[in-house]
């Protein structure tokens, strides 16, 4: 009986949704206006400038800069690297995203412990430097299209694992990434939710991060974005640079193939 009632209810709901449409539209316009007013003068620029200086500064026990770091396009090449990450790196034998690759470079070149940085709370010490570095490196690929390599078997494996992680429902609320990001044209509160199972468009979803978060006044890379997604999903705590975060990066990045990166963007 419940099922029949529900079907009837659905029909009534469809009728009532037209009534609320006008109001929804004006809210959406208001939000668009707000975002347009913020776009001119994105504080992410402050982080980019800091990141560029950090990239070139000799630091750490080995007193070296990061300029010899190979982000996938050869040592020292920054432009275009971001839109091809995560990818497989032969020297570590791992698929790495931007943050985990920076941990490797920072450790091998500068002697700064990757494990210690990974264990540092977001926004403090070396993690604050990571925020600036990801802003700088992503900005260097601004306007370029995502084109993650899938030639290596490890890259293809991470895509498959990322897909399964994306749909993995668990926790007290039974949420998966897909609960919010598995369909187009849905919102949470007033925020549009990109469908991350495909390319949601230029500068949307995966192509909008790293971003300056207005709510906290901080710059978030994908690691931090995913960390807070999992917090809101009521999951346990994902390790910084853990396989699940990189696999999700591969899944979303491959799906976003052809999308233009606007990172670092500005977000609620």
């Amino acid at each position: 009986m419940a099922r029949i009632l529900w079907a009837g209810a659905a029909a009534v709901i469809a009728a009532s949704s037209a009534v609320v449409w006008a109001q929804q539209k004006s809210s959406a316009e208001g939000i668009a206006e707000y975002r347009a007013m913020l776009a001119d003068g994105n504080p992410a620029e402050l982080f980019e400038a800091k990141g560029e200086a950090l990239w070139k500064t000799r630091r750490g026990p080995k007193s070296a800069s990061l300029e010899a770091c190979d982000l996938g396009k050869g040592p020292g090449v920054v432009k275009g690297a971001f839109v091809e990450l995560p990818r497989y790196f032969a020297d570590t034998g791992r698929v790495q995203d931007l943050e985990s690759r920076l941990l490797t470079c920072s450790e091998t070149l500068q002697g700064i412990s990757a494990a210690e940085t990974a264990a540092t709370p977001f926004g403090r010490g070396e993690q604050a430097n990571m925020d600036a570095l990801v802003a700088y490196i992503s900005a260097a690929s601004g306007g370029m299209k995502f084109n993650l390599p899938q030639g290596n078997p490890e890259e293809r494996k991470m895509f498959e694992l990322g897909k399964r992680a994306f749909f993995y429902r668990a926790g007290s609320h039974g949420f998966a990434c897909a609960s919010c990001h598995g369909d187009a044209s849905k919102r949470i509160r007033l925020q549009d939710l990109p469908d991350l199972t495909k390319n949601p468009g230029n500068g949307i979803g995966f192509a909008a991060w790293p971003a300056y978060r207005v709510s906290s006044g901080e710059l978030w890379g994908m690691q931090r974005r995913l960390n807070d997604c999992y917090r809101q999903q009521r999951f346990p705590y994902p390790g910084y640079g853990s396989d699940v975060t990189i696999a999700l990066g591969v899944y979303m990045g491959v799906n976003a193939k052809g999308a233009e990166s606007v990172a670092p963007s500005i977000k609620r």
Binding site: M1, S16, S27, A165, R231
Partner: protein, 217 residues
């Protein structure tokens, strides 16, 4: 256009798959590898412990389906099993205070690793994240259907009347365990997973069904 025989394709496919078996790289069991990855990637933090990664039958089946509908028999079995978990209110009263319900519906907190306690009193209903409810709140989500005029549209004028009973019980079951009526529902199982207690659920019931609630104006 030259027509090709489907059997030819089958034969080629067979040869390829045999060759595949002979190759050194064995086929990967992605589902097992996923389980292993989840286990190695997460750790306890505050109240959010790794045992939360364990899936029950519904979560496991819906994860595996990746958004596709479940086979009919499986869907029916999952819904029946979840329906059995629904506990109707112990005192037979279904409705509480819609004003408290509205606050609960607005509240998106609870059960994250930054929350101090798993007690139901520290949890919100998260309702506006996904649903339109009261018309006054313009910041609402659209993951779930609009619940504006929920009771009114269903003809509920007296929630205590026998006529309203089926809707009242259906709504209670939906809040208690949404998978009782929709196996792969995205809605949290508030009663079943001890996210909200009976009194809190009654307040949400009142928000949806009390004729005096702003939802039904």
């Amino acid at each position: 256009m030259k027509q090709q025989h489907p059997l030819l394709f089958a034969a080629v496919a067979l040869i390829v798959s045999i060759a595949g078996c002979a190759a050194p790289a064995p086929a990967i069991d992605y589902d097992a590898a996923t389980q292993q990855m989840m286990k190695s990637s997460f750790r306890d933090q505050g109240i959010a412990t790794v045992d939360r990664l364990q899936q029950d039958e519904a979560d496991a089946a819906c994860s595996k389906a990746q958004g596709a509908p479940l086979p009919e028999a499986q869907r029916v079995a999952i819904e029946a099993a979840n329906m059995k978990t629904v506990r109707m209110p112990s005192d037979g009263q279904f409705l509480g205070d819609w004003k408290v319900g509205e606050q609960l519906a607005q509240n998106g907190r609870g059960m994250t690793w930054t929350d101090a306690s798993t007690a139901t009193s520290s949890n919100g209903g998260n309702c506006y994240n996904c649903h339109q409810i009261s018309k006054a709140e313009i910041s609402y989500g659209t993951i779930g259907p609009s619940l504006y005029q929920y009771g009114k549209l269903r003809g509920v004028t007296d929630p205590a009347s026998p006529a309203a009973r089926p809707i009242v019980e259906y709504t209670w079951a939906k809040l208690w365990n949404a998978k009782a009526t929709n196996a792969c529902s995205d809605m949290p199982r508030f009663g079943h997973n001890k996210l909200l207690d009976e009194a809190q659920l009654k307040n949400l019931m009142a928000l949806l069904l009390d004729p005096k609630s702003p939802v039904n104006q």
